[in-house]
């Protein structure tokens, strides 16, 4: 199957000399939710800009559904809906007009039924005659999404969709994005909120300093990079580890009240059984135990640090 977006050796150097992208290769599959994760200034928005035709690439190629974004821009752009990071909409237009305008701009004839459907799905129907000017920030963001969906795109780009958005709207947006995926729309979102990528994405690409550090299924990423920890709460705190337990990667925490054991969930053996036996022999009793897996955030911080 043709990839929704296929990027080869893409680079971008701005006139100021700043290199935003350094030979990026990336493939986004049809129908998936792909999260591009990276700190501010990593090159996420530049990457989207090039795919959508707002930024000129310095080198490399981008194919959208197999069509080149430069030579076949009419085809590729009509397939894409873009929700930009900045809330920029014509303030003096009504919601209905600005959304209908977008549909026409993307080459589709009027279709009030579709616009109505989009506005209803985004809870904007009762605001359709309202001027954009009079809407709240969250509502304006919904209008941007409605505009991007007005021409029934196959691929939707969401650039930092939930930056500065309250929790409720964020949940709503996630719901909506999942709903869109159900209808076969490919979704590419950029975010620097790990939580968002973790919650939504099928696959995650991590970008930093204009380079894709890795692309992985979210589950694989979490599994491969995720270390698990076993935390044992001791009955009585100890000053130091008994000699018999040295060299096992154990650490003391909480002033000697907790024993922390890190292990790899993929190893043949986790070493837990042996450890528990040794603890028993060393006469350490514990009150409680818990295991926890590192979050995407920790994985991410480690990745970015490693490459820095």
């Amino acid at each position: 199957m043709t990839a929704a977006v296929s990027i080869t050796n893409l680079s971008k150097t701005y006139a100021t000399g700043f290199t935003a992208l350094k030979g990026v290769d990336l493939e986004v599959r049809k129908g998936e939710i792909f999260a591009l994760l990276g700190p501010n200034g990593a090159g996420k928005t530049t990457l989207i800009g090039i795919v959508c035709g707002i930024v000129n690439a310095t080198g490399g190629t981008v194919l959208v559904s197999g069509h080149d974004v430069v030579s076949e821009y009419r085809k590729t752009r009509s397939l894409i809906g873009l929700v930009p990071q900045e809330v920029s909409i014509d303030a003096f237009e009504s919601v209905w007009n600005t959304v209908s305008f977008s549909r026409g701009l993307f080459g589709k004839g009027p279709n009030p039924a579709h616009i109505e459907k989009v506005l209803k799905a985004l809870s904007l129907w009762d605001k359709k005659d309202e001027k954009v000017l009079n809407l709240s920030g969250g509502m304006k963001r919904r209008v941007l999404i409605a505009k991007a969906l007005s021409h029934e795109p196959e691929i939707l780009f969401l650039d930092e969709p939930t930056a500065g958005v309250d929790v409720e709207l964020r949940r709503d947006m996630w719901e909506m994005v999942r709903g869109l995926r159900e209808t076969g729309v490919t979704i590419i979102l950029t975010t620097h909120y790990i939580e968002e990528a973790e919650e939504m994405a099928d696959r995650i690409g991590v970008i930093n300093h204009g380079e894709i550090i890795l692309v992985e299924e979210k589950r694989t990423l979490m599994r491969n990079l995720g270390k698990k920890q076993l935390r044992l709460e001791l009955l009585s705190p100890v000053d130091a580890l008994p000699e018999t337990l040295a060299g096992r990667g154990l650490e003391l925490a909480d002033g000697g009240a907790t024993l922390v054991y890190s292990y790899d969930t993929h190893g043949e053996r986790t070493g837990i059984t042996a450890l528990l036996g040794d603890l028993n022999q060393a006469g350490l009793r514990f009150r409680d135990l818990e295991t926890r897996q590192s979050s995407l955030e920790e994985i991410f911080v480690n990745l970015v640090k490693e490459r820095a």
Binding site: R74, P84, F101, L105, F106, G107, G109, K147
Partner: protein, 253 residues
């Protein structure tokens, strides 16, 4: 050709015109009427006939041209500058629309608006003076060519400008003086010879002269030269616009 897109932008721009009807249409009518009262009636009554017509009738083509120039520039420059300023330009740039279509839509709307205003001013003038139009077809041709040319020029300014000050500076410092010195209120024959020669370097002279010829049948400059110069400015503006889009100047990074 993405006709839906051209139509969308065009209608959007026209809607903006009608939303600001006071500022867009009524104010040029009022200012032109004032010119007629002051120059046509008060001062003009003491001036002898020029080119066989009363002074009031003589200044009609000049006044229309002056409004046409300034309004075409301000409409078109604002039309493209404002989306740049607010950031909504992203949508046009990401749309499946060619540069030619973008120009057609924005410049078409700006030119339509100034032609409409030109005709409104013409109708207003008819209340003040006896109008006669010798060559109606040529009159319309000059009206359309000028509106399109200066809308293109305004479009260029709107793209070049990166602040409201720059948006005002060209119309104020260049276009207004050229319009006033372009024979709006006088025939350049009235000037000393040196200034007549200098005036021939002023593009507005050709526009006003050609336009006036279509009204009264006589002109300062040969009508063929006027028409040729007008077309030359049109082509020059088109060339600059083509360059802007080829390089992405100030639109795309």
């Amino acid at each position: 050709m993405n006709l839906h897109a051209v139509k969308s932008i065009y209608m959007f721009e026209m809607a903006r015109t009608f939303r600001t009807v006071m500022q867009s249409i009524i104010s040029p009518v009022i200012s032109t009427s004032l010119y007629f009262v002051v120059f046509g009636a008060a001062i003009g009554s003491r001036i002898e006939q020029i080119g066989g017509v009363s002074y009031g009738a003589f200044i009609v083509p000049g006044l229309i041209m002056m409004s046409l120039l300034t309004l075409s520039i301000s409409n078109a420059s604002f039309g493209i500058y404002f989306p740049k300023f607010t950031g909504t330009i992203y949508e046009v740039l990401s749309a499946p629309i060619s540069y030619g279509e973008i120009v057609l839509a924005y410049v078409g709307a700006a030119a339509t608006k100034s032609i409409m205003i030109g005709l409104v001013i013409l109708a207003t003038a008819a209340f003040f003076v006896d109008l006669r139009i010798e060559h109606p077809f040529m009159m319309l041709l000059f009206l359309v060519l000028t509106a399109v040319t200066f809308s293109l020029f305004g479009f260029i300014i709107g793209i070049w400008a990166d602040g409201f000050e720059k948006l005002q500076i060209v119309p104020l410092l260049i276009v207004m003086p050229l319009a006033f010195l372009g024979g709006t209120f006088y025939s350049i024959d009235m000037l000393p010879p040196v200034w007549q020669t200098i005036s021939l370097g002023n593009p507005v002279v050709y526009l006003v002269s050609g336009f006036r010829w279509s009204f009264i049948g006589t002109s300062d400059v040969n009508i063929g030269i006027s028409l040729a110069m007008t077309l030359f400015f049109l082509v020059a503006c088109l060339a600059i616009v083509a360059w802007i889009f080829r390089t992405g100047y100030k639109l795309k990074t």
